[in-house]
């Protein structure tokens, strides 16, 4: 008995230590030079929590635990080591699925187990288990859909069909209604199979919600969706903590939930759209097409890589604006080479990074860091927007909507009010782009038709390699 109490005390001490390690670890992430050590501390905290749990007196056999740990490590380690940085959005999306899967299975197991025990789960526990399973299940399918869209086996464009909102609403209220019914009936201690059926249907409906939630959301809105799913996975983990009375789950889940929530707000703001609009709007549809300005009668100026090299090579102050196009073309290494070349010739190069450039928060930063661009060359929208005035050449690489001046000047534009990079203030603008296709918002970009703008058409990687060769020859 005393042994057991000492054991329980040790478990609690391990959990408290782990909580502290998680919080301090995340604090490390507030600065690039303390980030790595912070995360090592967090990983140590995780190890502590796992060891503590293995000593839990409830555990009677270790076979299944060992099988799970071995299988999970065998999949997780190669995934962690081998996934290329370019596939990071997909990998983040799919990892939310794994996290949610674990939480949901725990929720289902806990429901079945407590149902069979005397008195049932009771209201409080049922509330937690239901929440956990509901959010867990919708995060499983939602993350899988996001993964599919990012990986490309599900079309990236918004998928809509007539009556979609009605069906979504019906499924949503069905699941929430069942959840409420479960909480109410479990409290009165009524047993029997009806509870089990309600729980099963609720879980299935939640799985459906995940699919219908992400289906109408387009590729460029993925930063919001991925952040939101991050938050859901965290909240579900926190609910697990409430269900089994475990504080470390509550703490870690709350941290994750807060992080995902903040990121989704930041991303929505950067797109000048409300949460609700991202989730239910299916942007780029009829509304955008109707109010967009036509580009007819306007002409662009196209230049050759030699011309571009001439301008870039003699520029003193260059700002590079990367976008999703750079990621698609995998041009980050060519960009870094060009940047180094300009610096060698005495110019200054900075990178201007819009919060929603790419497919997840911070996407561009990771790609450029991988290509060895020092992080003190990377600037946020707020930090650099005033600097475009003083810049000789702004080089836009596969970015479109985030540079559209219509966001400032045209109240009729669907992106009016969205914070943009003030590329049009630069003395000259060179836009590297595959063709004249519109960006995600489906609208023309006035920037491309300005006198100071030159279009350099082609695949970002090959075009930039040519520019690099030309600059070397200057």
């Amino acid at each position: 008995m005393i042994d057991q109490q000492i054991g329980a005390l040790f478990v609690q001490v391990a959990y408290i230590g782990a909580s502290a390690a998680f919080i301090l670890g995340l604090r490390g992430l507030t600065k690039p030079d303390t980030a790595r050590r912070g995360m090592q501390l967090a990983a140590f905290g995780m190890l502590l929590a796992i060891i503590g749990t293995l000593l839990n007196h409830e555990i009677v056999s270790y076979e299944f635990i060992i099988i799970g740990l071995v299988v999970g490590s065998a999949i997780g380690l190669p995934m962690g080591l081998l996934v290329p940085m370019t596939a990071m959005p997909q990998r983040i999306a799919i990892s939310h699925m794994f996290g949610a899967l674990a939480v949901t299975l725990v929720g289902i197991a806990e429901f079945i187990y407590t149902r069979d025990s005397a008195g049932g789960p009771g209201v409080v526990k049922m509330t937690a288990i239901g929440f956990e399973t509901l959010f867990g299940a919708l995060t499983i399918t939602g993350s899988f859909m996001a993964f599919g869209k990012l990986q490309g086996f599900i079309p990236g464009r918004p998928i809509t069909f007539p009556g979609q909102k009605l069906i979504n609403a019906a499924v949503f209220f069905g699941a929430v209604g069942l959840y409420a019914a479960l909480v109410v009936t479990q409290s009165s201690g009524s047993t029997g199979d009806s509870g089990l059926i309600m729980f099963a249907v609720m879980t299935v409906l939640a799985l459906v919600i995940g699919v219908t939630l992400v289906l109408p959301i387009g590729g460029a809105d993925m930063p919001v969706v991925v952040s939101l799913l991050n938050s859901y996975a965290g909240l579900a983990a926190s609910a697990t903590g409430f269900a089994i009375g475990n504080n470390i789950l509550i703490v870690a889940g709350a941290l994750d939930g807060a992080s995902g929530f903040i990121l989704s707000i930041l991303m929505s703001k950067a797109m000048n759209r409300s949460f609700a609009n991202v989730l239910f709007g299916a942007f780029g549809g009829e509304k955008a097409a109707a109010s967009a300005k036509s580009a007819e009668g306007l002409t662009t100026r196209s230049v050759t890589p030699e011309d571009a090299a001439m301008r870039i090579g003699y520029a003193r102050n260059v700002i590079i604006v990367p976008g999703y196009g750079m990621a698609v073309a995998q041009a980050q290494h060519a960009v870094r080479e060009l940047a180094e070349l300009i610096e060698k010739r005495g110019g200054r190069v900075r990178f201007a990074i819009h919060p929603v450039a790419g497919r997840m928060p911070g996407h561009m930063n990771v790609l450029l860091a991988e290509a060895n661009v020092p992080y003190d060359h990377l600037f946020d929208l707020d930090e650099i927007n005033e600097e475009f005035h003083a810049c000789d050449v702004a080089l836009v690489l596969g970015a479109n909507d985030v540079t559209n001046p219509a966001a400032k000047s045209d109240p009729g534009s669907p992106i009016y009010g969205m914070p943009i990079l003030n590329v049009q203030d630069a003395e000259q603008v060179i836009v590297v782009k595959r063709g004249m296709a519109t960006g995600f918002a489906g609208i023309e970009n006035e920037l491309f038709y300005l006198d100071k703008t030159s279009m350099l058409f082609g695949d970002a990687k090959s075009v930039l390699s040519q520019v690099v060769t030309e600059v070397k020859g200057l």
Partner: protein, 127 residues
Amino acid sequence: MTALLTALGAAAAIIAATSGGAPTAAVSTTLIDAQIVEVYVFLLAAFIGFQIITKVPPLLHTPLMAATNAISAISLVASIVIAGAERPLFINIMGAVAVAAATINVVGGFVITDRMLKMFKKTEGPK
């Protein structure tokens, strides 16, 4: 702030009201105490999370996501108990699958976060 306090009060009231139906007074008191503490823990952790995470620069938002994902795989702790406790076989098996899924995130998540953070370097030497 006021809104949060109101929310806290409401949560407490709900818990108090719903737990009121428990059979004995003693049981319901301890239940309320335990649940209230959990609500406190959640609120405080969420506050700290908000405070710290708003300070994370956009530069590190991707590592942040990978990191919080690895941390929230703490559900491994709950999965381990379910896989190893004295429960019906199929629940143990569900637990084993949950352990595997959470372990993927713990191992993969921390490894990948470290890989990313290793890449962020400052300009070398004096400029």
